[in-house]
């Protein structure tokens, strides 16, 4: 399969036509929704939080955050960054609840330290591996992003980034940049060794409540299957555990995956008519 990431920059690839096609495809809607739900599950937020959506696009991932009901710790408030004006345009037309910014995450994350409880990124950060036309290397863009993300999260905060690595080298490059920025990092694989394999980079910032609960990244992903733990502090990589096919855990895992896949979440917009008023 050809990857648009290899030939185009994101803002060129996601033009008006592509942005509309992307957002109205029910197949894509379902996939993005289920991955955003998975990321949310990994964030394990207990109360309504301020979340950064990195590469928010037309809001398919963000609206999952707005739709979490109070008895499940929501709804969350989110701010989205995206480099493609056409995607943000579609987000506007869809009246998403998050606040939107036109920004290149490869240039950094312009928020003061400790702003966010958490961050998600769905299908976006592999774009950073392409140098595009700029005079800066993919490594440089990745470290600006992860350094900025790290600083913008509060102590004890978490980020989950689902991404599509082109190959093992990209996987290492991305994970390595996150670890270098100071994150505790784990790489989770859903549906390993199938063509639907999904990678979730689970990142934690030390300190704060997370440590009090006795869990940094190793706690987050402990007992999870198919997790590689990368940690800048211990500088060693643990082996990948795999579920035995047909075992009870494997069946539960598959069942949950099916449930997630069948679920379509429609967010209802809480916006009503806009009253304009001029300041001053």
């Amino acid at each position: 399969m050809s990857r648009p990431e290899d030939t185009l920059s994101a803002d060129i690839h996601y033009n008006d036509t592509e942005a509309r096609k992307y957002t109205t495809s029910s197949r894509i809607q379902n996939i993005q929704a289920s991955m955003a739900e998975r990321a949310l599950e990994l964030l394990d937020l207990k109360s309504p939080s301020l979340i950064l959506d990195v590469g928010c696009g037309s809001g398919l991932s963000g609206e999952i955050l707005s739709a979490v009901p109070p008895d499940e710790g929501g709804p969350h408030i989110w701010i989205g960054m995206d480099i493609a004006p056409s995607m943000l345009d579609v987000a506007l037309q869809r009246d998403v609840e998050g606040d939107l910014m036109l920004a290149d995450i490869g240039q950094g994350v312009p928020f003061r330290a400790g702003t966010f409880d958490a961050a998600i990124s769905i299908s976006a950060i592999q774009w950073l591996c392409n140098a595009e036309s700029s005079d800066i290397s993919p490594m440089g863009r990745l470290s600006r992003f992860f350094d900025g993300l790290y600083a913008s999260l509060k102590r004890g905060g978490r980020a989950v980034c689902q991404f599509y690595p082109k190959n093992d080298e990209q996987k290492k490059m991305i994970t390595g940049a996150a670890v270098k920025a100071g994150f505790g990092a784990g790489l989770l694989e859903d549906d390993p060794e199938t063509k639907n394999v999904k990678y979730y980079l689970v990142l934690t910032v030390g300190g704060g409540s997370l440590e009090e609960k006795g869990g940094d990244i190793t706690g987050v992903v402990k007992g999870m299957d198919d997790v590689d733990i990368l940690d800048s502090r211990i500088q060693k990589k643990s082996g990948k555990g795999e579920l035995k096919k047909g075992s009870k855990a494997w069946i539960i895992h598959k069942k949950e995956q099916m449930e997630r896949k069948g679920k379509v979440v429609k967010a209802t917009s809480k916006y009503t008519g806009r009253k304009r008023r001029i300041a001053f």
């Binding site: 943000l88 240039q107 312009p110 003061r112 700029s134 809480k270 806009r274 001029i278």
Partner: protein, 127 residues
């Protein structure tokens, strides 16, 4: 951009990272709208300790709101006083800057805001 976001955004220009007056950004020629958003008490209480009250007061004044109280409410205030909670909700979440500019006091860079979307793309020599 919600006023909430304005309380957290900083100038993205490289040389401004260490400059204290690169925060908050200052609204200019701002056009505001009021949205109707459901009150989320738990969110506001979670967020309250992270609000920079001095910056919020500056922003509110610059946007033409009456002066805020000199000290921030406590979480107990928010729980006990429905009006304080409403006011804070209205300012932070329901007030949107839809047009105008956000200006950095340190380097003078102006970030355009159109249809509520702030443009933070920078020419590469500024990053």
């Amino acid at each position: 951009m919600k006023v909430l976001s304005l309380n957290f955004l900083t100038c993205a220009v490289k040389t401004c990272k260490t400059q204290s007056d690169s925060y908050p950004l200052h609204p200019k020629d701002a056009e505001l709208v009021q949205d109707d958003i459901e009150l989320n008490e738990a969110f506001l209480i979670n967020l309250l300790p992270r609000i920079d009250w001095k910056a919020l007061s500056t922003t509110a004044t610059e946007l033409g709101f009456p002066a805020l109280p000199s000290t921030p409410p406590t979480p107990e205030d928010l729980r006990a006083d429905a009006k304080t909670l409403r006011d804070l909700h209205n300012l932070l979440l329901e007030t949107q800057m839809v047009e105008g500019k956000l200006v950095c006091a340190s380097c003078g860079h102006e970030y355009a805001v159109r249809e509520g979307i702030a443009n933070f793309l920078l020419p590469s020599h500024l990053v």
